[in-house]
Subunit: 342 residues, 2 copies
């Protein structure tokens, strides 16, 4: 067992962990390890918003794939989709870089093609939401350390079983910055409109979680339990955050199905923007919708024991105002962070 915080990011603490040094978690979990030379990563969410799912803009996606494959492209990308309650379908491509300078060069080259003025009259909405957390500002967790998802796809190694998990506050304790910083959310995002193009002036301490599940390996009772007893409760929580999350500090939530060769796979994830890590902690710990999710997951894990084949992971970042970029073109009013503001 080792700390979720690697040695080269360990500093003298001014803030304590929530558990004593002798704490031993009741089961194993793992984190993705970035290479020591990596100082900052980029997580870019590029969304296509379609009024009609059948009218998927294949050309836009092919063009984006070509951009990803070009010089300075991301170390990893994946794609997912969802239907939003405004009647749109969103196709979200998520790309990860382990060097902001590389991303900056890539974006300088490809921003125009993705969301430039040539597309002002398009019927398809486009958006890009980017954060660039330093390695001090994000954490990951996986229940099985062999199938990378999200940012773990650009890191090179897995940790040993880690200490800081299976208690409320573990998420915070896994973020290296928590050793010295409360990571508060300060202010609120401001939407700046320029016709059909909208940008969001970001907010200090904004928090992003991508939290996923992979039921591809489940069979029989394992699969039935997940699909019948866990997934509907998860979906209800996701819907709550999407539709009613704002008063509790959830600016936006998308519950997405991962696409594999363009088709829905047995993997999904929620991605949500929060006013602060605190707000995310409070919902997770005490809101009835997440207590229900936690209870359903607990019951599933207790019932299945070691034969459970469900894979779970998440990644959580808390970023400074200058580590955020939000731009929307031809999107409806409640898209992403646009829905966060009065």
């Amino acid at each position: 067992m080792e700390s979720a915080i690697p040695g080269h990011l360990t500093v003298e603490r001014t803030r304590h962990r929530r558990v004593p040094d002798e704490y031993v978690p009741p089961y194993e979990a793992f984190v993705a390890r970035t290479e020591p030379h990596v100082e900052q990563v980029v997580m870019a969410y590029l969304g296509l918003q379609l009024r009609d799912r059948a009218a998927s803009d294949t050309e836009a996606l092919l063009r984006l794939d070509a951009a990803f494959a070009a010089t300075d492209g991301p170390g990893h990308h994946d794609r997912s989709m969802r239907d939003d309650p405004a009647g749109y379908t969103e196709i979200v491509s998520i790309a990860y870089w382990d060097d902001p300078a590389t991303f900056d060069r890539w974006f300088a080259e490809h921003r125009e093609g993705w969301i430039g003025d040539d597309l002002l009259d398009s019927h398809v909405g486009r958006w890009i939401e980017v954060i660039r957390p330093t390695v001090h500002e994000f954490e990951t967790i996986f229940n099985v350390p062999d199938r990378p998802e999200g940012v773990a796809a650009i890191t090179k190694e897995w940790s040993e079983p880690i200490q800081e998990h299976a208690y409320w506050g573990g998420m915070r304790d896994r973020i290296p910055l928590s050793q010295t910083d409360a990571m508060p959310g300060v202010g609120t995002p401001v939407v700046e409109r320029d016709g059909r193009r909208v940008r969001v002036r970001p907010q200090q301490g904004l928090c992003l979680i991508r939290s996923g599940q992979d039921w591809a390996d489940t069979e029989g009772e394992d699969r039935e339990l997940y699909l019948n007893d866990v997934e509907p409760v998860l979906r209800a929580g996701m819907d709550f955050l999407r539709d009613e999350g704002r008063p509790i500090g959830c600016y936006a939530n998308r519950y997405l199905t991962v696409l594999s060769d363009g088709r829905p796979s047995d993997r999904s994830f929620g991605m949500s923007w929060w006013r602060s890590l605190d707000a995310l902690e409070r919902w997770s710990e005490s809101h009835p919708t997440h207590v229900a999710i936690f209870g359903a997951a607990m019951k599933y894990l207790t019932t299945m024991g070691p034969s459970a084949r469900l894979r779970l992971y998440h990644e959580v970042s808390v970023v400074d105002a200058d580590e955020q970029y939000f731009e929307y073109l031809n999107c409806h009013e409640n898209t992403g962070l646009l829905g966060a503001v009065e």
Copy 2:
């Protein structure tokens, strides 16, 4: 709203609360306020262990009542009972003092009558478990501030609605000592046998919780929900702690029904001894048995809303080794802390 820690017990922090200063809990809760001159309280649990419930030792109880009513007696006492799985019935009288010197005088006068050598050949087991937390070392919480239970019966006032609740870690944050101390559990209790008399050499950082519910005012759906949906889940959790708690740091658990004029009332509580506050936190937050209790309570509260009439409270203490006293006479092997040790 105010802090659960009163002004006169507030010190410069070396340890942070789990929530930011601007945290506002989603519902109200209250704590009992000791008078400023009170520095330390005494919580004494005096148990009668009967092999046969029908053979209740009325004389012993009357004699104890007389002792309570005598000079230097407690400011408050109550009585409760339970059947234990070894086939015994325990009648537990709980007394509270707000001055250890007064308790010491009382105990010097009445110890012999309760558990002295004259009783060595009795068929009735007797025990006394006492802690004397300073006002820095315990906390309380009530959902309704008008019906004192436990130690609140010897305090004189209620707080305003407090800030430190409705999140995991609130219990710790309400204990004044948490401002500067992690309150670890150190070592394990040691049982010292002397024939039928057994004492326990105590352990630094031992933790006691008394956590109760009062459903006397519930009617109709409110009552049915509590009795059918909440209580059985609570009981299962109490049974788990009693029978299987040791590996997770619960030394002993008793689930007791409060007696009113000698008869069972619509009030109950669990009292349990823990290796440390940490161990209690871990069970509360993540063990399936308490996650189930929390989920059931949450569902009850969500269903009933403001018309819920269930009253809930608890008191939690973390004490130094020299603030504990445990003595058992003619008791079975698993009585109280005796069951804590190999």
